[in-house]
């Protein structure tokens, strides 16, 4: 596994399967959606790990399962040394205080009947961080100012705000319990381009000021390159590559990563039209019937016979660079 002295978050072999049930009177489980099917990584304190992939790859499910919002079907997650699956009572409360989530949809992630003040103040109330009254209101106003919103907005309702402002409210809520670890689940995908940069800068500033650790789940590869320290690529429930930011983008080894990167349009007409693109055939398959052997083999441009039979091993092929592909040879490993 990747080396970090005392990672803040440790994920090992995490799985999350959803049963598919059929039947009217008696429900039978006829199969499983294997949304997350065995992922492992560490996140060091203060780091931003990017988790990328296309729809159906399981990245959103992974984020929620890591925080314990879905019970895992297999594997383990440790956050600050505490096993998430076994946390109960006081340990669970502490976990909920030390971890938070920012959501993708600014319109669905805020309760439309609550005022901004109540929304941002909820963690303060639940964890009894400030007594009710002026102390709590002051803290809420501080948090709003921290994310760039006027403190006068405490009594407004979410429907009065734009998408970008609502995302800021969601961020303020996430910061209220003073978490160490924040899972950002596609926090900018639903925003206009000119607002995305504002929010990304805000996230960076907050990370610097407050020493936050992020798991940044996204499908916008350009933004991930800008923001993240290391990047993990998921495909159909498993990780296919993990590397340091520039290493992944400049030296992608897994054919899926290569195709993904070449598919991202570049806002430069000369470059975009000149470059060689790997266009994948076919569609992203469903996580219900995963292909045998290497899951990517039906679409892989370099698939060989063994790829349909054998599941490739997840192995280190360079400093901090891990790949699951039969066709990638590890270079001589440096002493780690």
């Amino acid at each position: 596994m990747s080396v970090s002295a005392d990672p803040l978050v440790r994920v090992e072999g995490l799985k999350k399967h959803f049963p598919i049930q059929r039947g009217v009177i008696i429900q039978r489980t006829v199969g499983h959606v294997r949304a997350v099917d065995g992922i492992s990584f560490d996140i060091a304190p203060g780091e931003t790990l990017g988790l990328v992939g296309e729809s159906g790859c399981g990245k959103t499910t992974a984020g929620r399962t890591i925080l314990g919002l879905y019970p895992p079907s297999g594997g383990e997650v440790w956050i600050e040394g505490v096993a998430v699956r076994e946390a109960e009572g006081e340990a669970m409360r502490r976990l909920r205080r030390r971890t938070q989530m920012i959501f993708q949809d600014p319109y669905a992630s805020l309760n439309p009947r609550w005022t901004v003040g109540s929304i941002v103040g909820e963690p303060l109330r639940v964890h009894q961080l400030r007594p009710r009254g002026s102390a709590r209101t002051e803290r809420v106003k501080e948090l709003l100012a921290l994310v760039g919103l006027s403190p006068r907005y405490v009594n407004r309702f979410p429907h009065e705000f734009s998408g970008g402002q609502r995302q800021r409210i969601g961020i303020a809520r996430a910061l209220a319990s003073e978490p160490a670890f924040v899972v950002c689940d596609e926090p900018i995908s639903a925003l206009d381009v000119s607002i995305q940069a504002q929010i990304v800068n805000l996230l960076e500033d907050l990370q610097d000021r407050l020493g936050l650790t992020y798991l940044f789940i996204a499908h916008d590869l350009a933004m991930v390159r800008h923001l993240c320290d290391r990047v993990a690529v998921m495909y159909l429930g498993i990780m296919v590559e993990l590397a340091g930011r520039d290493e992944l983008y400049e030296n992608p080894l897994h054919p899926y990563t290569q195709a993904l990167l070449s598919a991202v349009p570049i806002p430069d007409p000369e470059l975009d039209r000149r470059r060689r693109r790997t266009i994948l055939s076919g569609d992203v398959p469903s996580p219900i019937n995963t292909p045998s052997g290497c899951r990517f083999h039906p679409r892989c441009p370099i698939a060989k016979e063994q790829c349909a039979r054998l599941v490739p091993e997840w192995r280190q092929v360079g400093p901090g660079h891990w790949v699951a592909c039969h066709e990638v040879e590890p270079k001589t490993l440096p002493s780690v």
């Binding site: 206009d192 960076e204 570049i266 806002p267 000369e270 975009d272």
Partner: protein
Amino acid sequence: MGTLLEVQDLRVRFHTTEGVVHAVNGISYSMQEGETVALVGESGCGKSVSMMSILRLIPCPPGEVAEGRALFGQRDLLQLEEAELERIRGGQIGMVFQDPMTSLNPVLTIGRQITETLRAHTSSDGASARTRTLELLDMVGLPAAEERLQDYPHQFSGGMRQRAMIAMALACSPKLLIADEPTTALDVTIQAQIVELALQLRERLGMAIIWITHDLGVVAGLADRVLVMYAGYLVEEAPVLELFSRPWHPYTLSLLAALPRVDRPRSSRLKPIPGAPPNLLAEAHGCPFAPRCGFVMNRCRAENPPLVEIEAGRKLACWANVETGQPR
């Protein structure tokens, strides 16, 4: 290559209970046969509304085309009889929308929907329509076209549905294809497939394309010319290479600066555009971008700059010169 479409001073308003929304404020441009024009802007800038109102697909009321002409060939689409317009829509102008699930009829098979389009606009009989349909499905890269004819939209993935939509749009070999954010909802690898398909079809069929999008990356790969919209106004028009290498409007400039790059290491913080897009309910005074503009001058707040041709093929609506920082 003649002029295919000419839009003159188009103004579209919506009458809502909160007031009048000025969605499109006097845009004018023209398109030549065979060229690909990208209409770019963020949500609310009026790009979709302007196109939909030209095709008279906006419900009026509450919409209203207050002014303007849209000349296709020599005929004003906004004044045509409904029957005549229907012949053109689907016949000479094909349309592809963002969400194929709502644009495709969920209770009809794909085969049926395409053959119906063919029979409505051409004089094909059943057999030749079927042959043509198979040709089309093959052309858009849908494998096993024979079986696909019997499938329903929900059996297709997003990418496949979009291909089916393109097939339908191309059924009658239109001169103009209008694509309204066709790849926005698709995964990036599927988007690449669809863009690739569009490029091949353009090669093969020589049709003109209007591609509406907010993604400047897609624009860079596809367009010959770019029209930039902001708050219902057309603020810049330029050939694609020029627009990206020497953007003249502060909005275009800021938008490009705010984009992270997948092909370059991170250099510095992103430069966001401060503030937010304007409220279209308010009466516009001066340039709509003034509150967020880094080059703003007093004149900008008082007078809205008109769109003028600065060089051949380049138009701009701005009082400032972003290259020198002085008034233009």
